[in-house]
């Protein structure tokens, strides 16, 4: 359940909207909110331009955006972003490829569940960055260290959600498969897997957010390249505008990844959304 509510977090405020609204009903417009954002950006711009805040760490908003355009177009940021994304994709892929089969095995096979699950529960609360220093001894400072950390972080939400999903499959589906004499493999493929899929995807989405965070952390701590490393070096070099530009770009990428995931998810499990919309609760 925990992971499912975690879901809300990654989907954000504009996720599934409740039609019921309590309290005062005002016309549904975001104009006020957009205005607030514009005001804050103007305050940033003016405070830096007029010298109200005098600091090399406080470049005007317009300068940050200009730097972003320059850094992206002159090719300084692009390779860094690509190396970060490629690292993320591999680490996430490994965690995903191990996590889903492991989750199914734990949920479906009692011996596996008895042996493996306590260890998962034991390892889960470890703060991921803490595994990096000891891992340096084993894997060195290279990519395999970062990939292992990302995969490790990905693993837990995926495994736990897969288990929850398989456990939550309606018992009646199992009986339906039985009464038509469907083989165990077919039942797994056509009944258990689709029934658990919404949970699995929710886990994968939570894991994606976490994987982005861990990628950046790993690059910051043991970086040789990537955006995390770039951020730290810009901080040392006191190039604030470049640093902010990189943060903006990274945020944009994280946002787009999450959006793309939600879009793909919506297509894969279209039936859950349509069913909800049709108001069928059974």
């Amino acid at each position: 359940m925990t992971q499912l509510v975690a879901d809300n977090e990654t989907q954000g405020l504009s996720g599934p909207k409740r039609s019921v609204s309590i309290g005062v009903r005002v016309r549904n417009s975001r104009a006020s909110g957009v205005l607030l954002v514009v005001l804050i950006l103007c305050a940033w711009e003016l405070s830096a331009r007029t010298g109200f805040v005098q600091s090399t760490n406080w470049p005007p908003f317009s300068t940050v955006m200009a730097t972003l355009v320059v850094d992206v177009t002159d090719g300084e940021l692009l390779p860094l972003i690509l190396s970060t994304l490629w690292r993320l994709a591999r680490g996430y892929g490994i965690g995903f490829a191990i996590g889903i089969p492991l989750g199914f095995a734990i949920a479906l096979l009692r011996p596996v569940r008895l042996v493996v699950r306590p260890t998962i529960e034991l390892l889960r609360p470890i703060p991921i960055p803490a595994i990096i220093p000891p891992l340096i001894f084993l894997l060195g400072l290279g990519d395999s260290l970062k990939l292992s950390s990302i995969a490790f972080a990905t693993l837990f939400p995926v495994v736990l959600n897969t288990i929850a999903g398989v456990m939550a499959v309606e018992p009646i589906y199992d009986q339906v498969a039985k009464t038509f004499g469907v083989s165990r493999w077919t039942a797994l493929r056509r009944v258990v897997f689709p029934a658990a899929l919404p949970f699995v995807l929710a886990g994968l989405r939570t894991a994606l957010g976490l994987a982005v965070v861990v990628t950046v952390v790993a690059e910051m701590i043991v970086g040789q390249d990537g955006v995390g490393y770039y951020l730290v070096s810009m901080q040392f070099a006191m190039r604030a505008a470049d640093m902010y530009a990189a943060i903006v770009l990274l945020t944009l990428i994280a946002y787009l990844l999450n959006r793309a995931f939600i879009l793909a998810e919506g297509r894969i499990i279209r039936w859950t959304r349509l069913r909800e919309a049709s108001g069928d609760a059974s």
Binding site: A6, N8, V26, G33, L36, V217
Partner: protein
């Protein structure tokens, strides 16, 4: 009631994997199959761990980390619950803050660390700020959803019985949304721990994150693993405390599946 024999099987099966792993490692390390410099025998690591505990060396870093975590997490949660309740209750306040939160929320929080270091330096203010920021968003979003999910019938019922607004808030809105808020706080706790460790690693001003990274940089291999055990225990204990609290605060809610 579970029978004693079943209980034994469950415990034995659960312990078997870590036991096999540790014994295998011990064996491999002693026989030189793995380089003991990089992967010391578990017994040696546990000896170092015992030393850290017995000499009290763990105390200062632990207190440092827990203090930062507690202060930052509390600030983040209180701010998020306050704003979240308002945003969930009033459409106008929701509309005012939604675009801003949607803009800031997707920032991978560790990416803000270098910026915060520039402004706040390497000390506690920076570390507390990042923890508070990281804790803020999951709680905010769950609180908004929790308040919105309160059945309007429940509120109307209270009004019918003549309850005034403050009572409606205290007796209905807050308890009814508590399970959502707590679920958000659980996500935040994990994130807060991750961020406090990362920020301590980057600032090097004490704390468990600093201890573990310094051990690595000084090539103190066993210490590095021993500190990892300390951090894992911290995570386990915090999770256990959270579960214990959640069970008592949201007791009317059906136990959440794990």
């Amino acid at each position: 009631m579970m029978r004693a024999k079943d209980r034994l099987i469950i415990v034995a099966a659960g312990c078997s994997l870590p036991a096999v792993f540790l014994l295998g490692l011990e064996f491999a390390s002693r026989n030189g199959w793995v380089n003991p410099t990089f992967l010391p025998a578990p017994s040696a690591i546990f000896a170092t761990f015992a030393q850290i505990i017995l000499t009290g060396a763990f105390f200062a870093p632990l207190v440092h980390t827990l203090t930062l975590l507690f202060v930052g997490y509390s600030i983040g949660c209180i701010a998020a619950i306050s704003l979240g309740v308002l945003m969930g209750y009033s459409r106008a306040i929701y509309n005012l803050f939604e675009p801003l939160t949607e803009l800031i929320r997707p920032i991978p929080k560790p990416a803000l660390l270098p910026a915060l270091i520039l402004f706040l330096g390497l000390g506690a203010p920076m570390e507390i700020t990042i923890v508070a920021l990281g804790s803020f968003f999951p709680v905010l979003i769950n609180t908004v959803q929790g308040v919105r999910a309160v059945d309007p019938v429940m509120i109307d019922t209270a009004r019918t019985f003549g309850h005034k607004s403050p009572a409606v808030w205290r007796r209905i809105l807050l308890p009814a949304s508590a399970p959502y808020v707590l679920a958000g706080m659980r996500i935040s706790l994990g994130l807060a721990l991750l961020l406090v460790v990362t920020s301590e690693m980057l600032s090097g001003n004490g704390g468990l994150g600093d201890a573990i990274l310094s051990a690595q940089r000084s090539f103190l291999v066993k210490e590095s693993y021993a500190w990892l055990i300390v951090l894992a225990l911290v995570g386990l204990v915090l999770t256990a405390i959270f579960n214990w609290t959640e069970k008592r605060v949201a007791f009317w809610q059906a136990p959440q599946a794990q």
